[in-house]
Symmetry: C2
Subunit: 342 residues, 2 copies
DNA sequence: TATTAGCACTCGTTTCGTTTGAGTGCTAAC
DNA sequence: GTTAGCACTCAAACGAAACGAGTGCTAATA
């Protein structure tokens, strides 16, 4: 069977009304509130076809239809082509630039959540071309040496090293120079075992410290685990009965937002895939996380230049207002662009 | 009217059964399941008295009684004197010492939450006698200077300063020495305007940098806002219908755990008050946060020595198992003690 | 005087049959 | 191909009735 123009229009109408009401929608509604001028009977026939084709589902015999995942997918795909709505509520909300990155991120999440009435998440930017920029060892007290490591993009990592006895000023200086001259500008792939061996040899009796520093450097550069995720509007989840009528399920969802572990999966997935618009939509079981199979997730990748990239996401029920959400995210991307591209 | 021995026993019985069932408890239940050997009628009379005295409440005319805040308060207070149960599930869970502080904290919260079936929170330790230990300025690149500030207890703070043009090596060294000799070992109260003026004068043309460093130092020492709070088991809240039957209310609660702002209030309050056991119980509206007026919160202060102190808290319904919760917290405190006091 | 049995009364909860109405599928007519 | 009409289905809403847990009061009892 073919998905002709009329079927497509009906499907769109069904989905759109369902998004608004959250109730199964019947043939009569469609017949009345579209400009197709078809009787409910005709619509019924078409809807029957659409159900057969898997776009819509009847929750029980005498109820209207609701979109299936496939239906939502169709809707989102066509919509992405067609629409380009503007949402300018975000404008001006990001102007106070000089605040710290993490408060900024929190606020962005917050704005998104209140704006859309869904839950929002945002990751701190990741630095992809992680090159070492600066290393410094300092004697803090008798038994402790502080290693400060700065990576491209000004991510700073501190690490305390224990030593048996204090190093004198000169040795410290020598080690600092040694480390900086050999490691600066290198990425993690470029630091190999041979180089490490060489460094240790040159450090002589202090080779143990070199090992520890290298470990710290490795950690600083990969910085994978401390990918921070900020969330906001978890409470909004509770607003959608279809997500929370089952207590068990609701709990799992809340947990997703608290643990943030599952959110990681989206982030890594999103960051790896590349799409032109930078916006991706996961509907129901398309999500890599089991407990979100009744949700939809819209993610966007932001890019602050210099390899600093992060992910923003909106999580809501499948009947989310894709149109608005995608619009909002696009606007946000633009805002971030104009704010940081200079 | 006086709260004699028998009334006390009945009150305790009422509360205990209510804690188990979560349902209002009636006179018959008490008469049957206690060793008082009194008929339900007698119990009724006594309960009527107890209600008059404000310890218990009748949610509606033909229902059993539930404890009032005052009733809980009585229960908790007497229990604190009497009981000393042991909960040793926590033992051995904290042994792997060498992990990072924040993963440790997360795990503690997690253990507490799963152990009690309530929500748990824990703050990173605060450093109260905040004395400056070490300052270091380094030229990272042409226009940026990194200030590293180490505070007693090895809390490290980094701050990037912008400069018009790079400082030569010697000046940097001079500034470092200047800062360290004058500021080391001082707490925030001891750094006054006169001293700052003196420093600036000695720094000559680089006085602007001194200002920025001082700002960074102030921020590092107070470190008030980045009091991190880790939570776990928010989902458990959903298990108690009395907290979540009202959607609006449930949302607010979830929000408390996401925003963490309200949790701050407990922490600061708990840290300021000093009690012998270190354990505090907030019942219902005793809590400083409006949206938690149907909850109870049990907090404990842990002390890792050297002025490093933090707060742990369990949040649950008013009918929480105070006995177990307090026991668990006490065990935890002991664990932390033996783990760090060396 | 304290305790208890008994009884009438209250009121939320449960149960169950009924009604309602939205929606469908099918068929026959246009 | 489209539509009107009709019988049928079924979840949800409604409402009366029964239930039962619990109370307060009173009169009898120890």
């Amino acid at each position: 069977m073919e998905l002709d123009e009329r079927k497509r229009k009906i499907l769109q109408a069904v989905i759109r009304t369902y998004l608004e009401t959250g109730e199964p929608v019947g043939s009569r509604t469609i017949s009345k509130y579209t400009d197709l001028n078809l009787s409910s009977a005709t619509i019924r026939n078409e809807m029957s076809d659409l159900e057969e084709m898997g776009y819509i589902i009847q929750p029980h015999t005498s109820a209207g239809r609701i979109p299936s995942d496939k239906g939502y997918r169709f809707y989102v795909d066509t919509m992405l082509e067609e629409k380009e709505r503007e949402v300018d509520e975000l404008k001006g909300l990001l102007v106070e630039k000089d605040e710290k990155m993490d408060t900024l991120l929190k606020r962005v999440a917050n704005v998104l959540a209140t704006n859309t009435n869904y839950a929002a998440m945002i990751t701190a930017p990741q630095y992809h071309q992680n090159k070492l920029k600066f290393i410094q060892l300092s004697q803090v007290d008798e038994h402790q040496i502080l290693a400060v490591i700065v990576v491209e993009g000004n991510v700073i990592k501190n690490s305390m090293l224990r030593v048996e006895e204090a190093l004198d000023h000169e040795t410290l200086l020598k080690l600092n120079i040694l480390l900086n001259t050999h490691l600066n500008g290198l990425s993690i792939e470029e630091i190999n075992l041979g180089m490490i061996a060489g460094l240790k040899k040159q450090a002589g009796i202090h080779s143990a410290i070199i090992s520890e520093v290298i470990d710290a450097v490795a950690e600083a550069i990969k910085s994978d685990e401390d990918l921070k995720i900020y969330t906001s509007g978890t409470r909004n989840i509770l607003k959608y009965p279809e997500l929370t009528d089952n207590r068990e399920r609701a709990g799992e969802l809340i947990n997703v937002f608290e643990e943030k572990k599952s959110l990681h999966e989206f982030v890594t997935e999103t960051l790896s895939e590349e799409k032109n618009t930078g916006i991706q939509v996961y509907i129901g079981s398309e999500a890599p996380v089991q407990s979100m199979k009744d949700c939809s997730v819209v993610t966007a990748t932001y890019d602050l230049g210099e390899g600093m990239r992060g992910t923003v996401g909106i999580i809501g029920p499948k009947r989310m207002d894709y149109d608005k959400v995608i619009g909002t995210l696009k606007t946000l991307m633009n805002e971030l662009d104009t704010l940081y591209k200079k």
